[in-house]
Symmetry: C2
Subunit: 143 residues, 2 copies
DNA sequence: TTGACATGGTTCGTATTACCAACCATCCTG
DNA sequence: CAGGATGGTTGGTAATACGAACCATGTCAA
């Protein structure tokens, strides 16, 4: 097996696992009336208080798109806006208590959904897998 | 480290790698005026000739959504519809030569985009990673 | 200090994605 | 062959996403 082949096989496996995980996340989002993007927004806000533009950059979206997403989530009471005290132009976004509660519930559901499959690996295999994935990941960002 | 912890760490890594791969696929799709969903449609049609409903099931979409997606891609000349000879109700979908050509180009771009990161792994690590991912994947489906 | 330019957000217009319900055509079964 | 099941399209609605235009605030240089 050449180095080319092993790369091709890896890309295939990685893309497949990507779609598989995405489908789980999409399903859990849908069960809670959240799009995959909204799910990611909540995930990012879990331990951050970014301004609208930062949020957009994190997700690779236009700021106008972000504005709408924040609007709808705010109307649902999941998050809130606040003027940034150091920059009158900027608007900080953060989870409301309700949003935090939902986020935690989603976290549990996601773990519950993925556990059966991943649990098929022996603990040392899991650590091995994490060890192989870690160096491939960009700067921390969780879900 | 308990078994719980190793599972949590694995889920985090997997979800992060999912978003990272998704962002690459989304970017390459966008550069070719394709949504992630359309990208997946092309990927599925690469080696299949499913009916509309099968395609929808593969992607976890409603058949009406599928109808629209096929419409637009057909209008762009990427794929075509044909009555299924064995079932007058069913409509088979398949790539046109132009669609096949685009799909191959996308394939190259995707590999080119992911190679730098994955190339950081030594060949035996790649094989190890594939070996760990394989058993987690559902029945074959590629991209 | 005050223009001029840059940055942060929102709003508007448009296309796409996605769902559901309703519908028509074809198939299958009793 | 009548009735129900299946496959697909259509129409209605909401969310997602982009770009362009716009306003407010910030920054820098003359």
């Amino acid at each position: 097996m050449t180095s080319e082949d092993s790369l091709d096989a890896l890309i295939d496996a990685l893309v497949r696992s990507t779609f598989q995980v995405t489908s789980v996340l999409t399903r859990i989002g849908a069960e809670n009336d959240l799009s995959l993007t909204q799910l990611r927004v909540l995930g990012i806000l879990r331990d951050r208080r970014p301004r609208v533009t930062e949020l957009a950059a994190h997700l690779g979206l236009d700021k106008s798109t972000m504005s709408g997403l924040v609007d709808r989530a705010e109307r649902r009471g999941l998050l809130a806006r606040d003027r940034n005290p150091h920059d009158g132009r900027a608007v900080d976004v953060f989870l409301t208590p309700a949003g935090r509660e939902l986020t935690q519930r989603l976290d549990v559901e996601i773990r519950r959904a993925l556990a059966p499959t991943l649990g098929r690996l022996r603990p040392e295999q899991r650590e091995q897998l994490v060890g192989l994935l870690e160096p491939l990941l960009g700067p921390a960002d969780a879900d």
